[in-house]
Subunit: 237 residues, 2 copies
Amino acid sequence: MTMTTPSRRERLRAETVTEIKDAARRLLVAGGPPAVSLRAIARDVGMTAPALYRYFPGLDALVLAIVTDLFEDLRITVEDVAAEYADEEPLTRVGHMARGFRRWALDHPAEFALMFGSPVPGVTQFAEHCAPGPVNDAGARFGETFFAVLGEHFARHPFGDEPDDLPDPALRELLRPYLETFGERFPLPVVALFLAAWTRLYGLVAMEVFGHLAWAVTDVEPLFEAELARTVRQLAR
Amino acid sequence: MTMTTPSRRERLRAETVTEIKDAARRLLVAGGPPAVSLRAIARDVGMTAPALYRYFPGLDALVLAIVTDLFEDLRITVEDVAAEYADEEPLTRVGHMARGFRRWALDHPAEFALMFGSPVPGVTQFAEHCAPGPVNDAGARFGETFFAVLGEHFARHPFGDEPDDLPDPALRELLRPYLETFGERFPLPVVALFLAAWTRLYGLVAMEVFGHLAWAVTDVEPLFEAELARTVRQLAR
DNA sequence: GCAGATCAGTGAACGCCGTTTACTCTGGCA
DNA sequence: TGCCAGAGTAAACGGCGTTCACTGATCTGC
């Protein structure tokens, strides 16, 4: 492969890129998404702001690169959890992965907001068109870790095809974006069920991280566990 | 009540305040939360930016006032839906209210992002402490519209107290913030169930509005209907 | 070994932004 | 009529993203 010695210049350049991203993540953690500014990053790495344009075409692209890295981080975290419970039932493992997701989100609220919050204009531009790009690839790899374990489950317990709400062709058209990325690995109703599970997980975690449940509850964990149990049970049938 | 004639000056002042808020909402709709800036608002109403400080102590306060208004708008929308189906079963009505919520969110994505998205620093400061204030009051009134209909249901179909995951005192401590605001109207497990339903609704709608489901699905509505049916069924037992 | 191209980085500038300060003007009230 | 609170302004500060013209250093081909 193209593993030629990276020519001093390229090596320095790569080091600078990671230095820039590190600074940006420090700022993100310290002050949330709005604290990530070109000028602050430049100050941190000891450069002037325009110099950053040698490495990224603008702030949006830099933020996008960071989001991509974060998806990779999150994926690895969740995969580690999955590996930790490798000898459990697949669905049990999915439960632990969901807990790992929640834990990561609570430990990294600013990063979570950047990845899953209301899209900052600019990030939207890139992501909304579903254009194939590094960030979508990273997101797909993240989804893949869940699909892999789910695949184990449905290999052991084939899906008894219950009648679904939607006729198959309609469901197929509905799930077209998913099918284009992940292909035909599960019965369509299973995919729909998984999406429901994912939105439940997202809803609960996002509300907790964003503080939108503080009006109701002192601790979200029992709610989370109850909902997780219900959802895994539903996934099991 | 203090309904003395509002003294010309006060009347003009009130008009200016609504003019400012209208401009802010126009900007919000046109360009999303980041487009709401004091200077842009000032340009719109034909003033200079510092003049706005005669009406609001700063941008954050202005945004907060708008969020409060938006909660009221949303509440009225949902209540109108509830009134429209006044002769339906309460749980059927809750379903229609959920649809009304989704419809409003899709029709007002920028407003939804401001109210339910990742908290902009500043809005957080006020809201996170759960301090009693206009925005929390408006949020509580919004919740109240759901509780009212839910109350009808449980008046007709008393809750057969099934064993819950949590012992009662723990559940009571868990729900302390809720109980402090809304009091003791439902059996605690019902409240927990309602919170689960609310987070499901939020998760689905937020993901749709924020475009976080575009990778999977061309149209979220069937997913929404399926999840809504499951949730109402669960609320019914 | 050296000329010329490429690249990293700077400084100044433009037009945004929120906010503060000092100031002017005007409408309402005693 | 005179005064004063309140509405509004202009100028300024510091921060922001981005562009442009420019300087050195470094690598490349001869």
